[in-house]
Symmetry: C2
Subunit: 204 residues, 2 copies
């Protein structure tokens, strides 16, 4: 059965995005061209250029796609977790492992390239802010904390900044066992520091 046209177009788009992430992670931004991505995706150059006229367009699509996939995976992974304090350690485990894979490597290539490339920076800065806000929202939801309380916002932010630092530490050598000890300790820090979700008071 042939795929309907719209479906086929979506598949092509997804293939191109996945190929872009692989290419950037392997050869860096400087070596990545729309032609190379098309070749890797098994898509004609014309079709690639139809979907993504410039490679900056692919960056936007790739960062948004990767963000959506990761957020969906995390929400699914958190579905079975208990509520209350006992969910802190498994959620911290998920969050602090968030940036240890090949997608973070691709993101790092982009960040570093953007630090000396104005047009890439113009694309990345608002994108990074958007993805950062979404990751923050996810962390707040998964931890089940009340951000209106003082200090909670900064603790959630610290958790995500720490996660990115751990991603860096894992870039050149396997850092899993050290990271595991940090996760355990971080959950201990976060546990009492994060207030329990408020219970509706009866009477007032």
């Amino acid at each position: 059965m042939p795929e309907p046209r719209q479906e086929r177009s979506r598949t092509t788009r997804r293939k191109l995005i996945e190929a872009a992430v692989d290419c950037i992670g392997e050869v860096g931004w400087a070596g990545t061209t729309v032609a190379l991505i098309a070749q890797r995706a098994g898509v004609s150059r014309g079709a690639a250029q139809h979907h993504f006229p410039a490679r900056e367009d692919l960056v936007t699509a790739a960062v948004e796609y990767v963000g959506e996939v990761q957020i969906a995976e995390m929400r699914r992974g958190a579905e079975g977790l208990p509520s209350g304090r006992s969910r802190i350690e498994p959620v911290v485990d998920m969050l602090l492992n968030l940036y240890t894979g090949p997608m973070f490597r691709a993101a790092l290539h982009l960040w570093v390239a953007a630090s000396s490339d104005e047009s890439l920076r113009a694309v990345l800065v608002p994108l990074q802010a958007k993805v950062g806000r979404e990751a923050h929202r996810l962390a707040v939801d998964l931890l089940g904390v009340d951000e209106a309380r003082p200090g909670v916002r900064e603790l959630v932010q610290s958790t995500l900044d720490l996660a990115r630092g751990l991603g860096l530490a894992n870039l050149l050598a396997d850092d899993t066992s050290r990271r595991r000890r940090i996760i355990r300790q971080w959950a201990r820090v976060l546990g009492p520091a994060l207030p329990e979700p408020e219970v509706t008071a009866v009477g007032g």
Copy 2:
């Protein structure tokens, strides 16, 4: 008065190392050659090659030099600080600002390049471990904590990983005001979590 020969040689070395950090930070590892570094340092290519036969040698020297300069600066900066809990916030401030400058940008270029360059990776991995140990030792000394107590080692490590994550967040846009709030909150978390240094007991 002409510089004595040994002194002149040290000056040349330092010029080359500083030029290497600038070059790597600006054009990345791929664009950095010994010839380019020599030109930037105002040193003859022959002299540069005498000091550093391969650009990997310059990486080793540069990472060690940057590490030493930063550690000396931090120790000097911490000299006037009070002892006890009240030093936590100023020390956290120093530590969490450690990776927000141009040297971190150069280091990031190297890390990312090394993730797909075996020979650079072979140079960087032991170097990263060494510099990491020195930063850890510095943080323990400056915070004045006892690492033999459970959890303290991981908290100090988290502080440095968080610092690197904050370095990333500051790469493309000025993140100072958000970082300032995180520093304040992190000092609050670390204060009670880090036990006071032990006091020598009299009697037993």
